[in-house]
Amino acid sequence: MAHLAPTPVVEPGQDRTMILNMGPQHPSTHGVLRVLLEIDGENVVRLMPDIGYLHTGIEKTCEAKFYQQVVPLTDRIDYLCPLTNNLCYVLAVEKLLGLEIPPKAQWMRVLLNELTRINSHLVWLGTHAMDIGAMTVFLYCFREREEILKMFEMVSGQRMMTSYFRVGGLALEPPIGFFDRVRDFAGYFPEKVDEYENLLTGNPIWLMRTKGVATMTAEDAIALGATGPTLRGSGVDIDLRRDMPYSSYEKFQFKVPISGEGDVFARYMCRVQELRESIGIVRQALDGMPEGPIKADAPGIVLPDREKMKTQMESLIYHFKIITEGFAVPAGEVYQAVESPRGEMGYYIVSDGTAKPYRVHMRSACFANLQTLAKMCEGRLLADVVAAIGSIDIVLGEIDR
């Protein structure tokens, strides 16, 4: 794959640097990221991430599937926030179709998205802390994450590859007892965040490893295309949920945490605060959950209820047609972006008027965020590279697609 051209040797004795290969199986690279490092003693002179080890050609596969068949593929891009990807994709297709989604489905989407954000941030917090040497946090985080995965299993039947959102609404009515379980979780979760913070926020070792480490200015972050907590950790105030709301996010009250220092600790603080804000949104969604249908009234696009399908001829015909022929989407193009736990997740879909997308492009947040790694690490210590990689919160499935 990629090579780092050696620095020219001018005369003997000047060859001070060496090339170090980190990954693709290094435990702190969160998957299969390979990083090429040129180091001078303990200092990083140059850094180049090498990606592509998980490339599966999802964008190409999408072009050969019906619109509804793409939903399960979107789970597999970012396996830590499948519901965010489901949401972004269905929103884009709904925009192409001009579909109106009933309020209950929209609120359920918000609720599940915030649970996904908590899930993703918990995995990040656990692994990031473990990279830096704090083993305990990992076990605590995965304890709460397990509960969230059980809730996902409850609504969708799957712990990780949920595919719960459909074009036009949700796949199923949320089961009995689901809301009680979420309410229970929302009740005790803030204490758990206190617990993580007790372990880390004031911990002198943690502070030494994160404060002032891998800094990045706001200008650099914007120029390099960083989004999400990586951008907000550098003091840029943007959150698509608040600024360009989708799926009725405008009806929720929440703060967007920002820290201006631009170091690993700032990004850590942003995400930990987001955990608290997300659980607040979950609580609001539970309290205000509207009643009504969970699917749009669009017979040719949304699958009919099982009950109707077995008793009404017309529903049976629609069901058969959607499954065998898909549904045609009017020609056009849309770019729909949502705030994923990692930043701006965008779907650019081009339709040529047939039942299969002409082109699906996923703008992945990590892919752009990874470009900031060189800026963060060059001229700093080798040991900080691990902290920097952790603070970007990369998921290689999303980067390579």
């Binding site: 990629a2 990606i51 592509g52 190409k60 001009g98 056009g332 470009q371």
Partner: protein, 165 residues
């Protein structure tokens, strides 16, 4: 909710900040405009792309200072075959605009935006890798997803979904 028809008349769209800025600078660079599904698309002349982006980035009223995404669409066998698509975002004004450049299959070249937004680097490498479009002035135009010795560009429409066996 039926879809509103797309607006393609420059006169009706000249109030959009990006269109206004480009018209003000040089009306000839705008090849076509489209306002569809609440999204603004501007087709820009290939040779003027980099200057247009630099201009939009520095616009005082509505700076499109963030490059969200760069991608490409292959319209094989039609000509011009490739359409490179840029999504710009204005962080202060929360406004989006889509710029497009059309490229013939005989010379799929366009200026790189790396000098304006270094973040364009990976996106352009990805397009080079998967579509075979070249970006003039890119600092490191190598394959990024596929192995270095891969033949062909997988996202082109004439490349089979199952690959060559």
């Amino acid at each position: 909710m039926p879809l509103a028809p797309a607006i393609t008349d420059v006169e009706q769209l000249k109030n959009h900040p990006a269109v206004a800025r480009l018209l003000d600078w040089n009306p000839n660079v705008i090849e076509a405009v489209k306002f569809d599904r609440d999204e603004m698309t501007i087709n820009v002349d290939r040779s003027a792309l980099r200057e247009a982006c630099a201009l939009l980035r520095e616009d005082a009223a509505c700076p499109f200072n963030f490059l969200s995404d760069v991608t490409c669409v292959d319209w094989y066998p039609a000509e011009p075959r490739f359409e490179v698509v840029y999504h710009l975002l204005s962080i202060p004004k929360k406004e989006r605009v889509r710029l497009k450049v059309r490229l013939n299959s005989s010379s799929p070249n366009v200026d790189s935006l790396c000098s304006i937004w270094p973040g364009a680097n990976y996106f352009e490498r990805e397009i080079f890798d998967l579509f075979g479009v070249r970006f003039a002035g890119h600092p490191y135009l190598r394959r990024i997803m596929m192995p270095e010795d891969w033949e062909g560009h997988p996202l082109r429409k004439d490349y089979p979904v199952e690959g060559y066996r």
